[in-house]
Symmetry: C2
Subunit: 321 residues, 2 copies
């Protein structure tokens, strides 16, 4: 009986997938143009067994940056906003000393003082304030933050600040046998909650800056609490961590800044055909216009036909869902 009902479910699912209008016209929020064509051509070529560019399903790995690529990062990334909010609550409850650096500068949002302290040390210092917290409590705090956080400019919850065209792209890639991973400089445990809630991406598929937790047994019960040592996942560390975590070279990458250039260059330099997208923030009206720190990824698009710029203004019919 159970096998039969399983077969029935499978048949219904099959029929739905055959009739689904989403399959009839993929990437509905992408305007016809060079970027959309590049995506469709690439996906068709690597998934067609008769194509010279065919790539076996197991090797169709796609990596997407988060902040500024899938999710609005201005004026602050979701992860930074969450960590600042958590720091404030720990200082308010007296568990963390807000007078010490770098916490004092974080609380005052004093960018000059943070820069002087050193960004890397400043992030390490903030994360040290969360050391000793159970991984479950941190996850619960992340979820609670996402449930209450609201973006004033776009008048919507943080969970709806994903770019609709990128969510469509993720689904389109998955429908064509790709395994989609998020590779972000933001704090991994928070971003896992974000994607688990919104886009149905398993926590294992989120690679971010991480702190290795510390295991101990307290009164017979094993516990994992947050550690202090931070492994940064940006710039050259993205392809390095991708190798540690995935063990294959991606054939598709998307990013918006030089932070993502090594990951994009690596994806288009393998033995398989690759595609890299550079998401440009050129739409001050619907999102933001900025281009700081994207010279290298721009240069990559100039010299490689497999690296393609995407204009938020020109290529997307809508930005948010």
């Amino acid at each position: 009986m159970r096998r039969l009902s399983l077969s029935l479910v499978c048949l219904i699912f099959l029929s739905l997938s055959i009739l689904s209008p989403a399959n009839a016209q993929p990437l509905p929020s992408w305007r016809a143009g060079a970027a959309r064509t590049a995506i469709l051509d690439f996906v068709a070529a690597v998934s067609d067994t008769t194509s010279p560019d065919f790539v076996p399903r197991a090797e169709r790995i796609a990596v997407l940056d988060n902040d500024g690529t899938c999710w609005c990062e201005e004026p602050h990334s979701a992860s930074s906003s969450f960590q600042l909010s958590l720091l404030r609550s720990l200082v308010a409850s007296g568990r963390v000393d807000g007078e010490q650096m770098p916490q004092r500068a974080w609380l005052a949002q004093d960018r000059k003082a943070l820069r002087a302290f050193g960004w890397s040390a400043a992030y390490e210092g903030m994360n040290a304030a969360f050391a000793g917290m159970s991984v479950e409590a941190y996850r619960d705090s992340s979820l609670a933050f996402l449930q209450r956080a609201h973006d004033p400019r776009f008048d919507r919850p943080y969970t709806r600040l994903f770019y609709a065209p990128m969510l469509e792209l993720k689904e389109y890639l998955e429908a064509n046998g790709f395994e989609v991973w998020i590779v972000t400089g933001s704090e991994q445990d928070f971003v896992r909650v974000l994607y688990g809630e919104v886009a149905g991406i398993a926590p294992a598929r989120v690679i971010g800056t991480w702190t290795t937790p510390i295991y101990s047994v307290v009164e017979g019960k094993p516990q994992l609490v947050r550690g202090k040592v931070r492994v940064y996942d940006g710039h050259e560390h993205k392809p390095e961590n991708i190798f540690v975590r995935i063990g294959r070279r991606p054939i598709f990458a998307a990013g918006n800044s030089d932070n993502d250039e090594p990951m994009c260059l690596h994806a288009v330099s393998g033995t398989h055909r690759g595609l890299a997208l550079w998401i440009q923030h050129d739409d001050a009206k619907r999102e933001f216009a900025y281009s700081g720190g994207s010279d290298k990824i721009k240069a990559l698009c100039r010299r490689s036909p497999e690296a393609v710029p995407v204009s938020m203004k020109g290529d997307w019919t809508r930005v948010f869902p």
Copy 2:
């Protein structure tokens, strides 16, 4: 046409899975007894939606140790044998100095000298000899080693030193919606090749001791070469690395020594029902008999009904495929 043929393939696959004799009697190499019953009961309970112990598919994570749990580790683990063979070839070609410690002790297999040097430092030192090698060359060497390595006692290639009952268990778990991960103290990049070749496990699903590679661009081409810093994946580091890599607490674990006790204890201490297996080497005739360093996992089996000992001699009708 393509959708129709996809449907056809899916239907054929469904029919096969309904009629497959493997499904008629799972775990054929496991004798009827407490261990087999514990596995069948647990899997039925967590995958039946009407059971109070039901666990959603996404949370059905299983972690299996490699050496001594899925694969024969005596007289040497496959990973150690491979690294020693690689070290020998690098010394022979003059690229590594075999007179320096710890290489001299490794080449002489002088366990006393290695112990005096410190095992951790000895492994670090050996891995330092491979630093700078491209990740592709290391993978190719792993594969070449597996193609030529042969176990004299059992007269079979290394790739056939997996335990048949554990391969059946892996397939049975996957057939019931589990995601199966390998969590090993052995060197990750080699073990990835081993599982990719033999058991069809994706490299991302292999967590082992790793060295983070180093990314650089040489003449416009991005490269990843092996680094020196080693992240050890044993004892308490197994649940720690599982959290970093998977982001969920496993509900099923299997191990053979105290190296695996923290991972097993963690798996049976969550909010979901869990099961941990302790594979005992008590079969000198068909495999090996040894029990060094398994007091903690033995004690776990004594006090927790969710931790179950498995006797290779009593519970398995065969050891190797």
